[in-house]
Subunit: 311 residues, 2 copies
């Protein structure tokens, strides 16, 4: 027995430095993705090879970090969180594969590598995305055998499906498509991004929390405010980096959005106001984090990471 | 109280003529799809309009019939079956939208109407498919609030995800892609179709059964044999109709598969042997149906429908 017991909801590893905690989570989620993806010797081999190419060994894994950080609020079992983290990361990976295709953004470079349709052809890239979405729900269903309750798992499935679907991420993509070449005001931009990126970041936090004991209404509301703030902050920073970053650091083509005449926060508000908005959203996230108590330490650190990242 | 009580698992409507029962199920599933799809006034409107275009008012609804018929084996609540039926039909509809795209089969006609990418463009067609897949899982999660147990609903999610994913339907598509221009033997053809169409037909029957009381091992095994038989029969008949049918009756381009050099049962076995195979599979389905008892009447009638259909 330790001499000083931790307060409930504040696990021992909350004292590791953030970087160490985050790379530990990224490692364990990478291993879970490795295990969850069919190996490249399983028929159809080329599809499985391409799925692994699309998912493994890259990405910031922000969504898995959110899942695990939110799971600390509710004392969720880490192995259930791994399945939920795989689910959100697989949805994210599928969306990148489809977004990069010629009929969408037509991007050749992603995470410093040729995009899936460049490496494997368009038809297989479409199937890779389709199969990764299915695998996300398969992974999520497994959370129920790792300590998440069956009713909470059913709730998670609904949550993930709405976040990924036509009023969430896919809907945000459709609005984005229709907006090319048009000027959106800040409200319309926010609505688009709340769906396109925000919905899945919010779902990541909610799924993490749902893997454990139920949150009371006050803390559920604070988690919602936290998620909304970091969801928008993520996109504002993305738009800033698209202008200020370079392709080597980003691992994707810089200046792409501005060049393809897409509405961005920078084009709508200017660079300085975009920086200010990012800082304001960071303050909102911190305020919500305080309302969530000491177990929300990791959520606060993730908010800092999102706002201060360089890629 | 009725004078003559029905045997357990044999509901009153089992006495309706099959055609009447089937059109009743098709109607109620159509209404459930209507309710489950966001209306065309909900943002993003064009995406929702295209999703409704892809799903509503067409199709044989074979998978929903299987869901409801299998549900009669386990006394499943019809409203839970409606959600499971929507789920399998939404997966089916998404797969058609993506299969028809230029990078896949490049088909212009489906159910007698222009395909989604012809009507709405490629980018939106991809998003329609993506969003319909997500909506399928959202629909399935709702079965738990209509009388399916939460653990069974979690099992259904895993089942649907595997049937739709890389070792099921999407995997069958990938094998199909790689097979164009090659000659497959009967075993390789069966493996492909077991994934491409068979997996989702099997999942339809299993989902229907899972909405009710658990099946014992003997009947679960018989349902599996039934599903395997009708799954293959469906494809054999499809290949026969591709040769013998005409576009007007089929509502899609006849001779397409033969013309595009795809391996089919007809090209592998010849027309006569394909007809014989369809009849043999029908006998296997009937034998499994008898093992399932009187509550499997509808399953038997669906097997006849699959083998004797003209479109």
């Amino acid at each position: 027995m330790p001499t000083f017991a931790h307060a409930p909801g504040e696990p021992a590893r909350a004292r590791e430095p953030f970087g160490q905690w985050a790379s530990g989570i990224a490692d364990r989620v990478e291993r879970a993705l490795e295990r969850g993806l069919p190996d490249a010797l399983t028929v159809p081999q080329r599809l499985h090879e391409a799925m692994r190419y699309a998912v493994l060994g890259g990405g910031k894994r922000v969504r898995p970090l959110l899942v695990h950080a939110a799971g600390e609020l509710t004392g969720a079992p880490p192995s259930a969180l791994d399945h939920a983290a795989c689910a959100v990361e697989l949805i994210h990976a599928y969306s990148l594969v489809h977004d990069d295709m010629p009929c969408m953004d037509d991007d050749a470079l992603r995470r410093g590598k040729p995009t899936v349709h460049v490496a494997y052809g368009e038809a297989l890239a479409m199937l890779v995305g389709d199969a990764l979405q299915a695998l996300a729900f398969e992974a999520l269903a497994r959370a129920a055998s790792e300590g998440a309750s069956a009713p909470a798992t059913v709730e998670m499935v609904g949550e993930l499906a709405r976040a990924a679907g036509s009023t969430g991420m896919a809907g945000g993509q459709a609005i984005d498509l229709a907006a090319v070449g048009r000027m959106l005001d800040r409200e319309a931009l926010e609505d688009m991004h709340r769906r396109k990126t925000g919905a899945m970041l919010r779902a990541s936090a909610r799924l993490g929390a749902l893997c454990g004991a139920p949150l009371d209404a006050v803390r559920a509301d604070a988690l919602e405010r936290y998620s909304n703030a970091i969801g928008l902050a993520f996109q504002v920073v993305d738009d800033i980096l698209d202008v200020e970053g370079d392709s080597a650091t980003l691992g994707k083509t810089a200046g792409k959005d501005a060049g393809s005449n897409k509405p961005t926060y920078v084009s709508a508000l200017g660079l300085e106001a975009s920086h200010e908005l990012a800082q304001q959203l960071a303050r909102e996230a911190r305020e919500a984090q305080r309302a969530l108590g000491p177990a929300a330490q990791r959520l606060g650190e993730i908010a800092e990471l999102i706002v201060n990242r360089k890629s």
